[in-house]
Symmetry: D2
Subunit: 230 residues, 4 copies
Amino acid sequence: MAHLEYPVLDRGFVRLIDHMGSDLSVVNAARVSFGKRKEVFDDADAKLISYLAEHDHTSPFRHTALTFHVKAPIFVFREWHRHRTQSYNELSARYTPLPDLNYLPELDRLMINAGGSNRQAGTIEASDALTHANALEWLEQTQVIYAMLEQHYQWGLKIGIPKEVARITIPVGRYSRMRASANLRNWLAFLTLRMDPKAQWEIRQFANVLGTFIKQTFPHTWGLFVGDAS
Amino acid sequence: MAHLEYPVLDRGFVRLIDHMGSDLSVVNAARVSFGKRKEVFDDADAKLISYLAEHDHTSPFRHTALTFHVKAPIFVFREWHRHRTQSYNELSARYTPLPDLNYLPELDRLMINAGGSNRQAGTIEASDALTHANALEWLEQTQVIYAMLEQHYQWGLKIGIPKEVARITIPVGRYSRMRASANLRNWLAFLTLRMDPKAQWEIRQFANVLGTFIKQTFPHTWGLFVGDAS
Amino acid sequence: MAHLEYPVLDRGFVRLIDHMGSDLSVVNAARVSFGKRKEVFDDADAKLISYLAEHDHTSPFRHTALTFHVKAPIFVFREWHRHRTQSYNELSARYTPLPDLNYLPELDRLMINAGGSNRQAGTIEASDALTHANALEWLEQTQVIYAMLEQHYQWGLKIGIPKEVARITIPVGRYSRMRASANLRNWLAFLTLRMDPKAQWEIRQFANVLGTFIKQTFPHTWGLFVGDAS
Amino acid sequence: MAHLEYPVLDRGFVRLIDHMGSDLSVVNAARVSFGKRKEVFDDADAKLISYLAEHDHTSPFRHTALTFHVKAPIFVFREWHRHRTQSYNELSARYTPLPDLNYLPELDRLMINAGGSNRQAGTIEASDALTHANALEWLEQTQVIYAMLEQHYQWGLKIGIPKEVARITIPVGRYSRMRASANLRNWLAFLTLRMDPKAQWEIRQFANVLGTFIKQTFPHTWGLFVGDAS
């Protein structure tokens, strides 16, 4: 069974593993209140689903589910796991040595600050005067650091340091993997916060790809979510 | 799309609307910890899933979902809705008059007390000395009461009492309908409490039928749940 | 220990049992992100808490708790219990006969329709042409119905119908009691929906009183919630 | 306001910030089912609370709350945050440089493997033949690595790498801080998993200290939890 997958960042990805429901199941759940059910999504459904979204009637969007497989750096998962309505299973460095894959940003990304303000835009604090030369050198040094950390990690494992302890020098830029499941409503709540320009650029890349998958499986709901339900 | 449906009590039912996942998705979620994934459920999976269940590793059972449509008396829903991990959409008497369908127990059921102790078993309190004649008379009178309540309800609606107020005399034995969704782990937690002999007999009938559906969709997990994983 | 209590409807009430936290604990939780903590709520805190509320940063509002004891009609609890972030313990008619207390609306309330539209305002459907004479008669008949239901209930209990079955004719207008706990953030989410003019008038009366208690315990947060943080 | 605080590991701690409720509030919540409330915890309460615990009636334990402030290494928080019933606010490396505090295990701890099996106990895999000399060298090298990582981090911040990116080489052994809140029932569910010998030794040290605080605030419930309710 081949799953659709999109690459994210330099070595990550998002893969849709499974899903349940459609735009039609949303409206049918809502129609339980009125005692009706339909087989085909029509204009009246489009109107109903808009009403539900506008009035924050979230329950009909919950009789659905999407499971994703995600490969992302640990610092991205650290932000991700604050969303407590998703179910997670992640690769555990207690039992399995984490592969030597680490996030290295592209040069351009270093020019974007927290909250998305781009330095070129004139909102630079004095301390943000990052030069291209410095940025390049930092990227190079970061690679050296990553290599050294991997060497230390492997050496620890080799001499018999328990895996769960040997990992303490693993950097938060290292890639891990997880499966994450939630219903449509909770995925949209996640995207509201993580597609926002105030979210860190890296997690936004993952959020955007999740959005692409949701658009494919729940096109009408997605249109309402991004404000383009025409 | 025809959904499988089983009758419950005198006028209720449980219908499986949709589901996501299988026994295989449970073990594949668990294997994320070790970085592996498989296509077919085999003996090693059977062993793994037993381990997960025994050691209360619940997260792998959460990348799944089942949506049911349920018709049950209000007093059953009152107990059901204490389970806060399910998502619900129920027929609303604020907007739609509730159909005139009320639960009338069978004679035998009246002989079973709270907590499942059968009166014949000798655990009768003095006050429980229910005679067949009294039981029959009570059933008859209850039908009269139901008819009277329906008449009062219809009259209220007819003279213009707002639906949301006219409903105040609706008895908790009246049937309502809902859609309920949860992941496998949370359905099993529900069944642990509601298939228990201490649960009220009526909700146990619904729980048993839910179990039948779960057995069909997650046979191996079900075997472990009921302690028959041979 | 005497708890503060406000009456609601004809026989209900809301009583504050216990609470944890203050406006200061909200900002101190937020300040963990920056590594600071303070002893007294000042102007900078007022600014911070406004920022948190505006940008939907809900987590700092969650290190708090309020427990209420509530007496309300069953149909009110039916709506209330859809809020799955509260913890509940309710009087159980399986074990304890429900006291003979039933909700009887005042005459004026019958003139308000679902969604809060007042009939006088000209939004009357034909079927809503409720006359004062009919309303009065309906109230009188409802009282007769209530009395009859209580008689049937008591008779069932007396002849030995199990409590859990004898209750099936109890009307949803009967009063029950519960203890409900949630953190500040989740109480506010409840009030957003239940103080809304679209909520049923009865539950709005309870929501308003809950708001009064929250105003006393978290005055600054409350000011922001109702849009009056001046 | 001074909060009680216990040190954990080489540089961490757990501090009780606030709490709501007592053993008495647990039984009073349970007694709502029967319509009673008491002022003093007595023998009947002891019996009732045992019954609740034995029969897994969790709701009465939820009308309570405890908020802790915790300083722990990131890898401990990574495990901690899988518990989705707690509310968290953590120091953010997006906004505040993380102080240069890193976890360095003691020599003895290196001799304990995942799952708690001690190497001396004879359950050593070949690869686990850690010698004291190697262990000491690893500890020394780990300190060197930590120093180098801090240097790289500070240099990145200095040349203007955005804080949220400069952090990518921070090791998961670095200390962070958070505030965590949950009700008693959910704290006990956390401790069931994290005081277990199969849990990683480091998080167990935090769990044990949390237990000490719970014992002080809910002594009777704690006695039942650890199986010593005499």
